[in-house]
């Protein structure tokens, strides 16, 4: 039972893993899509030259694995468990009373739980967790060193290095994507992780001084009394009770603070990004979306399966904004809209929408998802050298490399592009008729698109849906007549 605390850590780790893997996977996908980790010396240098750069770099490195939610969940579980174990180790070094250890064992989970709460925010950056972990590692190094001048010198030398490693940098990384948001939970976790062992150490010092005075008075050391078997059982019960108490309280807090609404929206975005049209329809059939992104994705999936006009009113609608929302200046909402423009064959508009989304990422990072789509749109439009730029950058990534390597030979290869199931089809849908795009969807826009290529079934579906949503019966009838003529 000596290592019972490891069992609690394991239980905690499994809880974190299951939470992020099952209840919060799309938050991890969201995190991944708003960064682009490059295996490139300039990229690495630009990050590590700033205070907090090492923690930031490690965070970004780990975040690229969030493309696979379970791997991301495992990484978070390992990191949070490591924080807890290090906190506990520091507590153990600082406090030697068994009862005190039992109390503080429960409390050693607090920093990790606070970090868990911090990571519920989709804009919280994983570098923050690394910053706490690196700080704890440094503290552990300090306590491991023998007391005296060596330790003091190491502390003096290490503190500036530690600052450079974990920051924070007020003008750069402060572990939240919004520069103006103060990540309170992260700092609370940081503080408790450092303060708990420190408090215990002070407590022990005071206690040992008292013991010394008692020793001199009574000639015996209170701490030298060996624990009996019944005391051991009591300690185990206390351990378990405190762990359970902390765990239940913290889990309640996690559940209460988790943003499952955002998770749902992110799920729709994820499914649209991966063109999982059937899965989208299954999801909307189970629970009809009532947010704009959900409705946009639902309509796109219906359109892709040729059911949009037929089943339009079987689902929640949000007027024309649910069909093709206005292009907003933020990083999230334009992405499903861009997917709809892309599938419709409005490639220039899709390109602009994705570009705007990427430029709106508040911490100035780039996005693997956006780079991929920018490469695709440039390829379809024949801007091969621009596409090459994005593909070359993606070749420096871990998970987009294979796709970039497969796509590069397509550049300039008109025959291969024409045969490509996606690029060839979308190239045919591109309307040669140039006009100025309004930020709002118009019937004129969809009419042009359909008339340019009457094989563009999605444009037809969207145009019909447009007339249905606006109640324009006259043009709806005209469209059907036009279609009949075409069939003849």
């Amino acid at each position: 039972m000596k290592h019972i605390h490891l069992l609690y850590t394991l239980l905690f780790g499994v809880a974190v893993l299951l939470f992020f893997g099952m209840a919060y996977p799309h938050h991890l996908h969201y995190q991944e899509q708003y960064q682009l980790f490059l295996f490139d010396s300039t990229y690495v240098w630009d990050i590590i030259r700033l205070p907090g750069g090492i923690a930031d770099l490690l965070g970004r490195f780990c975040t690229q694995f969030f493309l696979f939610a379970w791997v991301g969940a495992l990484i978070i579980a390992l990191l949070l468990s490591a924080v807890q174990l290090l906190t506990l180790r520091l507590i153990s070094v600082s406090g030697n009373g068994a009862g005190v250890r039992a109390v503080f064992h429960g409390l050693s989970f607090v920093p990790s739980f606070l970090l868990w709460l911090f990571l519920l925010d989709e804009n919280a950056l994983l570098g923050g967790v690394w910053a706490v972990l690196l700080t704890l590692l440094a503290l552990w190094l300090f306590v491991k060193l023998p007391k005296g001048w060596v330790r003091r010198i190491v502390i003096i030398v290490t503190i500036p290095i530690l600052y450079w490693m974990v920051g924070p940098n007020w003008n750069g990384s402060h572990y939240h994507r919004y520069p103006t948001v103060f990540p309170t939970l992260l700092y609370a976790a940081w503080l408790t992780a450092v303060a708990l062992p420190l408090l215990l150490s002070i407590k022990r010092k005071v206690k040992s001084e008292k013991n010394l005075s008692k020793q001199s008075d009574r000639g015996r050391a209170a701490s030298a009394v060996p624990a009996s078997a019944s005391t051991g059982r009591r300690q185990q019960i206390l351990h378990f009770s405190l762990f359970t108490f902390t765990f239940i309280i913290m889990m309640m807090l996690v559940w209460k603070n988790a943003n499952f609404k955002a998770e749902k929206v992110m799920q729709y975005d994820f499914m649209a990004c991966h063109q999982q049209w059937n899965r989208i329809l299954q999801t909307v059939n189970a629970e009809k979306p009532n947010n704009q992104i959900g409705v946009t994705v639902q309509n796109l999936a219906l359109g892709m399966r040729g059911m949009l006009s037929e089943r339009l009113f079987d689902y929640h609608q949000n007027g024309l904004l649910g069909l093709l929302p206005d292009v907003e200046r933020d990083a999230t909402s334009p992405m499903p809209t861009a997917e709809a423009f892309y599938q419709l064959g409005m490639i220039y508009v899709a390109q602009r929408t994705v570009f705007e989304a990427q430029e709106s990422i508040l911490d100035f990072q780039k996005s693997g998802r956006c780079y991929k789509r920018l490469a695709q749109t440039n390829l379809i439009l024949g801007s091969y050298e621009v596409a090459r730029k994005y593909l070359t950058a993606l070749q420096k990534t871990l998970f987009y490399r294979d796709w970039a390597n497969e796509t590069l030979p397509l550049l300039g290869n008109e025959e291969a592009i024409a045969k490509h199931p996606e690029y060839g089809r979308l190239r045919q849908f591109v309307c040669s008729d140039d006009y100025y795009f309004s930020d709002h969807v118009t019937s004129d826009m969809l009419e042009r698109l359909f008339l340019c290529n009457t094989e563009n079934r999605l444009a037809f579906e969207y145009l019909k849906a447009y007339y249905m949503l606006t109640g324009d019966r006259e043009n709806y009838a005209k469209l059907l007549l036009h279609l009949q003529k075409l069939k003849q």
Binding site: L381, E385, D434
Partner: protein, 501 residues
Amino acid sequence: MKRNILHCFQILAVALLLLSSCANHPDVPSTSQKANSLPAIYPDYCNVTVPCNIAPLNFMLPADEFQECVARLTTPDGLQQTYGDGLKVQIPESEWHAMLGASKGKSIKVEVWGQKQGEWLSFSPFEIHVATEPIDEYISYRLIEPTYVAWSYMEIAQRNLSSFEESQIFNNEVTCVDREKGQCLNCHSYQNYKTDNMLFHVRLSNAGTIIVNDGKVSKVNLKRDYTISSGVYPSWHPTEKLIAFSTDLTRQAFHTQNHNKIEVYDEGSDLILYDVETDSVSVVSNDSTLLEVYPTWSPDGKFLYYCKTVPLPEEMHDKDIRTTFPKIQYNLYRRSFDVKSHDFGEEELVYDAVSQDKSATLPRISPDGRYLMFAEGRYGCFHSRHEEADIVCIPLREDSALVEKSAALDFTPVNSDGYSESYPTWSSNGHWIMVASRRDDGNYSRVFFAYFNNGKAEKAFMLPQEDPEHNTFLLKSYNRPEFMVEPVRISVDEFSKVFDK
């Protein structure tokens, strides 16, 4: 133990020093096949004329065709040196400047070999002509993604043209107090190529125009009740503490099927004159029916050149500008200026672009006052986004303000076919032309230089980079390149202090 560690450090330091000072001087292939063509090097430096103080013209062969590249450079005194590391030819600065020194007024012969599928090809040699005239030591530009509406990080940077040293003048992060609103930087400008008197604009968050007056930095608001906007496109008077600005109500429209992608146009634009010493703004021109933009002073400061539209046909008067702006075209005009009274004379037409169904923008007069250079496209004022836009240069006349297109110089070597060229500028000695061009890929602007002497322009070449592949990776455009004879010495921190006041 300590001695061992010290010894290891010493070995490492020496090894690093050796590595950093070593250039790869490979052997020329012993056998090769003749290719009978010039090498397709990137950037294209074949038969260009370069300044005697330019940074090394590093280049490379295309990665999808070749495995290795070797180049042999021969100076007029017969000295030879070979370079090549993989596909790249990167010449150490000291060796390159020695070669330039030995070749002033003459040429460096360049022979290139490329290994393709295990076999070496030897290409026809080319020459790099070294002009006796130097180029200004510095340029500055804004580095920005070729954006639509949103933007992320941007900076105004300066580059030493004799080396690869690039440093930041300012960025949009350091004083941005509202990231969601964002901050935009633009229109850096210098008086007479010097940096003691300069400016740039900061828009949106913490907005203002940053003016450096005899080295002293201040932030001013150029918007007045009687102007349509604050100052936009600037031009410093060459001798006085006066800056001519256009004031613009700029808008954008987005194409659905056009490589130009964006139309930037003005709903209204006027000209103002800002007195730096008195912080006063006076209106130069504010015809509400016409658009005036891009002021620029003649080198003697006696004329203000600018662009102005002509009235639209009557049937278009009531139409939305989004439909009429392809019909909006600019001519070039000038007005005399009295330095003492600050009075402007009557308007004179300088170049009639509209009658040729063209639009002329961004005029610049050569430092000797003999040539007018501008960007010409089919319509509009934002030729940076017009793939048909080219640079035009016409000798000015002493007997008349008006110049004709028929007198235009042959600028074919400066322009590209089918890609936008814009923002032309003259070096302070008038022998080097700098333009921003999208010829590299149609989307990202790059800086190009061309030699100019006695009315003849030579082939343009790209701003050299230490890594010749740099521009293939760089996802930023070089915006508004400007020559400077000295660096901006005010640091980012010093600039940012004026935002605290």
